[in-house]
Symmetry: C2
Subunit: 126 residues, 2 copies
Amino acid sequence: MKFRKSKQREKILEVLKNTNCHPTADWVYDQVKKEFPNLSLGTVYRNLKILRQQGKIKKIEHGSTYDRFDAVTNEHYHFICEKCGQIIDFKLEINKEMIDKIEEQLNCTTTRQKFELYGLCGECGG
Amino acid sequence: MKFRKSKQREKILEVLKNTNCHPTADWVYDQVKKEFPNLSLGTVYRNLKILRQQGKIKKIEHGSTYDRFDAVTNEHYHFICEKCGQIIDFKLEINKEMIDKIEEQLNCTTTRQKFELYGLCGECGG
DNA sequence: TTCTATGCAAAAAGTTTGCAGTTAA
DNA sequence: TTAACTGCAAACTTTTTGCATAGAA
């Protein structure tokens, strides 16, 4: 794949580099629009895709674009296959001291944790 | 909130109880449609919402319906305040042996982990 | 009888794509 | 000169909502 330079793409990357708020495409659009008033959202999405292909940014993945539901009520965590989207449950004892340490450090109290692993399942070449 | 009984809702819960594949709304729709051929997707979504309000099922959350992007490359995790919505980054050394054990158990390879804490931040009474 | 649940279809929300014109190399 | 990039708008995908009717309590 060949890429040319584009002012819009450079600005999009710059905006992303200068924030740690994990923005949405729309937020990026609003920022970059200040400099390129005719910018379109489609261009932002296309460039976000290209920047990912170039390995310069990451999309914060959640496996699938569909909502998924779960009637299993006991405490468990999820492994999500990045290829086939399959979700596999696993159990785990979360280290309580680790949580305590973070609570102290951030001066907060936590009520629940989410712990998810992403990768390839057995069938997809794990 | 008051709820009445409904055959469709009962069937939706039954279908969810009898699978461990964390289905999408559409998959549930296809299953339940076998018994209720006039079923509509809207009804499935509405009942999934009600079942969540009743605490009978969970939606596998990914925080927001928007894709989010990140050009910050170093590894970090998030504490999310359930009152004010603030997100605070923290660093953590994830126990590698723990991951190895899960990989072996599930026969998968993991490329990344998501570890999120939810609760109250200092300002909100943490 | 009352009001929640339903089916249907239209709208909303978020993302992708086709097209004709622009621009980097 | 050529083919990647752009803006615009339409299409697409997933979820929500409005409305009239059916059905549980």
